[in-house]
Symmetry: C2
Subunit: 171 residues, 2 copies
């Protein structure tokens, strides 16, 4: 099947939001999604964007059952390691179930790795849920290291009242 991987535009934000909700459902976290496509537009397509996003598109004749041609996305931004330097972070990688097994996910990920390398990044990092064995196996087959398993890294988060209280204690 033909498909194209390209940079997203503000006009893609509704479709990207649809795919974000699909991914959240797969991750059993659909009730966590608070973002709207308007926020995506504002935060990703201003002069100082918070993120970058690639999309995978199929020709009209291969559109999905519901009529969608935008069938996958790879959402990323640049980060930094104080040990190694420039890094790229893959926040989300998602392909609609009916379009899997055609190399679209791999293509999105490879393009983000290529963009990262072109900017001098020496790492690409991301997180995966421990029960998501198909994804863990796929990334492992491509040579990814699981740093939680091998080095013991735990992901921590402040949010809500705890984040607010912490911020206010700076005054």
């Amino acid at each position: 099947m033909n498909y194209t991987v390209r940079d997203s535009t503000p006009e893609d934000c509704k479709d990207i939001m649809r795919l974000i909700v699909d991914l959240a459902e797969y991750e059993k976290m659909a009730n966590e999604v608070k973002l709207t496509h308007k926020e995506l537009e504002a935060d990703g397509f201003s002069s100082n964007p918070f993120f970058k996003c690639l999309v995978a598109e199929v020709p009209e004749e291969f559109k999905s059952k519901e009529g969608h041609t935008l069938v996958g996305y790879g959402f990323y931004f640049f980060t930094y390691s104080t040990f190694k330097g420039r890094a790229v972070y893959l926040e989300d990688l998602y392909v609609m179930p009916e379009f899997r097994g055609k190399g679209i996910g791999k293509a999105l990920m490879s393009h983000i790795a290529q963009i990262g390398r072109a900017r001098g990044c020496v790492r690409m990092q991301f997180t995966v849920l421990d029960w998501n064995k198909p994804s863990l196996d796929f990334y492992s087959s491509q040579g990814a290291l699981n740093l939680t398993a091998t080095e013991g890294w735990q992901l921590l988060r402040f949010e809500g009242d705890h984040l607010e209280k912490l911020a206010q204690s700076a005054n």
Copy 2:
């Protein structure tokens, strides 16, 4: 003890690099540090910086045994959650051992939370090694959630030849 928390400047990079190496030694990863203060300067103080860094400074009369007045740092950048929106990532938080227990680490972290809130961030995330119980206990006492323990998130990484191969497969 008096101390000041302030934005770092290019002139601080040598000191920040010294503290990065100190932290890496504490994390038993000193041989992982490949960064130089010149790279820090180039990547953090250009028109499109990859990161931001706060430093904690004590007055000359309280300098360290080796004569240092810059005694801690908090290294951060902005990221993005496709479920919740703007986020701030705390890459490193470090205070020299002889200056601990005075609230300097908490002050650095609070200031970064405050900067994040001012930019509309709804989360502050970071990683901690599973054997680093003092840090895990400290963050937990401040209300941080351990998402690896509660939701199962694993941190994965591509680097070196695997990253290069992935990037080249995009061609």
